[in-house]
């Protein structure tokens, strides 16, 4: 029982790490550029597809993801230059329409190139086993790799946001956008960098899950909405908030699905508990979001106080 709990907690953390990788860029895009970007999840999907394609081409998952990373970076920057750059000073509604259109385009393009059927990416040989953590608790090596890579990225981001000039501009941009541009900072370039970086992080997340999940055209949509939940809980524009919220959401979702029915069994008869658990578990993260919103409408780590 304890082992199961630890195992599921690790799964939750691993899921949370992935959510964080996608949410980190998106929360900056919302916070710094005040842009609602629905197409961010698509970059996660593209990362997965490119990793699958390059891994098949080179015969190595590592090469696959190493080529996919700069490719998603390039796609992110291209999208910024072609589309998003023209949306910054538009209404939220225009942003919604254009990025919604972008999702349709990219989802269909992926379907045309790779078909609608899910692709699978073989697990890299070196990480296919599992590691003994404590006692008889074993955990798949690849999932540990995901957690480690995600934590390393989070640390890198933390360092970047708090100890570099770029990070300082980002923090300032999230709270006082006008002031940053008044300082003569090249806002356009800053935005392009944030966008490319965000795209690469999302693509990285997509590439990393390719071996453990099926790669299919709808995968970007489902992660996008959970990413929104993460951003709302964490507070728009806050990378730290995104990290805390992502882990929280990952844990709540994973533990809720596995232990929800078990807990309900104490209250209801087994059949009803199983049914109710299955129904309630997917809603838990949304209920969590509603609770946070009720108590703190601007999220756990709100940026840019004052005006709101």
């Amino acid at each position: 029982m304890l082992n199961l709990f630890l195992l599921q907690s690790l799964n939750g953390i691993q899921f949370g790490i992935l959510l964080f990788l996608v949410a980190a860029g998106l929360t900056l895009i919302f916070g710094v550029m005040d842009l609602i970007n629905l197409a961010h999840g698509v970059l996660y999907m593209i990362g997965a597809y490119l990793t699958a394609a390059f891994a098949a081409m080179t015969g190595s998952f590592a090469y696959g993801i190493l080529i996919a990373l700069p490719a998603t970076l390039a796609i992110g920057i291209a999208l910024e230059v072609l589309v998003f750059r023209r949306l910054y000073d538009r209404s939220h509604l225009d942003q919604v329409l254009a990025t919604f259109g972008l999702i349709l385009i990219l989802n269909e393009t992926v379907k045309i190139i790779w078909g609608s059927a899910p692709l699978s990416v073989p697990m890299p040989e070196a990480f296919s086993g599992s590691i003994q953590l404590m006692g008889n608790l074993r955990y798949p090596t690849f999932r540990i790799l995901i957690i480690a890579a995600g934590l390393a990225t989070a640390l890198g981001l933390y360092f970047m946001v708090n100890h570099t000039r770029l990070g300082m501009l980002l923090r300032a941009g999230a709270t006082h956008g006008a002031m940053v541009s008044a300082l003569g900072v090249n806002i356009r370039r800053l935005f392009m960098i944030v966008f490319g970086l965000g795209a690469m992080l999302a693509g990285f997340a997509g590439g990393m899950v390719a071996p453990i999940l099926s790669v299919d055209p709808g995968m970007g949509d489902s992660i996008l909405i959970l990413t929104f939940v993460v951003i709302v809980i964490g507070g728009v524009g806050s990378v730290r908030g995104a990290f805390v919220a992502a882990i929280l959401v990952g844990l709540v979702d994973t533990l809720g699905r596995s232990f929800g029915p078990m807990l309900l069994r104490n209250l209801l008869d087994p059949a009803a508990a199983a049914q109710m658990g299955r129904t309630l578990a997917p809603m838990l993260v949304y209920i969590l979001m509603a609770a946070v919103l009720y108590l703190r409408p601007t999220g756990l780590f709100p940026m840019g106080g004052g005006t709101r």
């Binding site: 609602i36 509604l93 393009t109």
Partner: protein
């Protein structure tokens, strides 16, 4: 694509904004008659061509026009971009599906259940969403819409992912009136006309005036003593309930209910319909939904990847016109400023 948004139809809701004694142009006055008249004549077209599918498509247009009309109340008159509106269509459809699986087929009971459930859902989620604004509001409505979607997907007692097939259409006082596609069509047309008239009254009423004022300048409205929140929440609930009514009708038309009605993509399409026809105008959503369903039909015949075309159109239109899609729709309608 928007040539189909018939520039000749003219601004409609300007009659609401203008001073009472200024009569709106004749064209604007006659536009509703024209549109509803054209729809009323569709069965004749179906009869003349012998293509009964026309009636099915036209019914679908009317149903989505009703849903778009409801979204327009909050989006067009309240500036609240809700990305979870399809959830209400789903709630309405499931009210039919779930009740009929218990043998309750009476349309009025199903409608009552749909209105109650959607009203409650809108009240709770609206209360939470409206405490925020802008980007937050869009994300949160999307998330709540998705929550409703997952709830239905995991509700395996009622088909889960696969949905519920209905054994037949709803009955009215025990009579199986709606079995005929023709009766259903005129029934839906009647509901849409009633909703249109209701919307026209709402928008011009004290309530609607506060809603429109808040859309344009919330600070000004607070400075004269209004608290926008309760007005916005009321509009949100009304919009949700009308969309649920559209869901009841949709379930009846296709005799099938599934979570696919409430995907976030469907919510996005509803937004596109409203903007396409003209946000904040009374007839706009009806025209937008008609054009959208027509387009969906035409493009889908042309290629299974028709959504690629839709996406391209959306991106190009938004990027191509300085004031976005609503500006383009406005210019096509003849430059009205409503």
């Amino acid at each position: 694509m928007s040539e189909a948004a018939t520039p000749s139809l003219g601004p409609v809701s300007s009659s609401v904004i203008d001073a009472p004694h200024v009569r709106p142009p004749l064209l604007a006055q006659s536009a509703p008659w024209l549109i509803f008249g054209l729809f009323a004549a569709v069965p004749l077209l179906a009869l003349a061509t012998g293509d009964s599918f026309i009636l099915v498509v036209a019914t679908r247009m009317l149903i989505f026009a009703l849903a778009a009309l409801s979204l327009n109340l909050i989006m067009g008159y309240g500036a609240l971009v809700s990305f979870g509106h399809a959830a209400y269509i789903g709630i309405g459809a499931y009210a039919v599906g779930i009740l009929s699986s218990y043998g309750i087929n009476d349309l009025l009971l199903q409608i009552a259940a749909a209105l109650a459930a959607s009203g409650l859902f809108a009240l709770v989620t609206g209360y939470l969403s409206l405490r925020t604004s802008g980007v937050y509001f869009i994300m949160i409505t999307l998330a709540f819409g998705q929550m409703a979607f997952f709830f239905m997907v995991s509700l395996s007692a009622f088909g889960g992912d696969d949905g519920i097939s209905l054994s037949g259409r709803s009955t009215l006082f025990g009579a199986d009136l709606l079995r005929s596609n023709l009766v259903l069509f005129y029934g839906v047309l009647g509901v849409l006309a009633a909703a249109f008239l209701l919307m026209r009254m709402l928008v011009a009423s004290r309530f609607g005036r506060v809603l429109r004022g808040t859309r344009d300048n919330p600070t000004r409205m607070r400075a004269i003593g209004f608290s926008p929140f309760s007005f916005q929440l009321t509009a949100y609930v009304i919009a949700g309930m009308i969309a649920a009514l559209a869901g009841v009708l949709l379930a009846n038309q296709v005799q099938f209910v599934s979570p696919a009605y409430m995907t976030w993509a469907r919510s996005g399409e509803l937004i596109v319909m409203v903007v396409l026809g003209g946000m904040g105008t009374l007839l706009g959503p009806i025209i937008g939904a008609t054009v959208f369903i027509l387009l969906e039909d035409v493009l889908a015949h042309f290629s299974e990847h028709w959504k690629l075309g839709l996406g391209l159109i959306l991106v190009l239109v938004v990027l191509g016109s300085r004031d976005g899609m609503s500006g383009l729709a406005r210019r096509l309608r003849g430059g009205s400023d409503v």
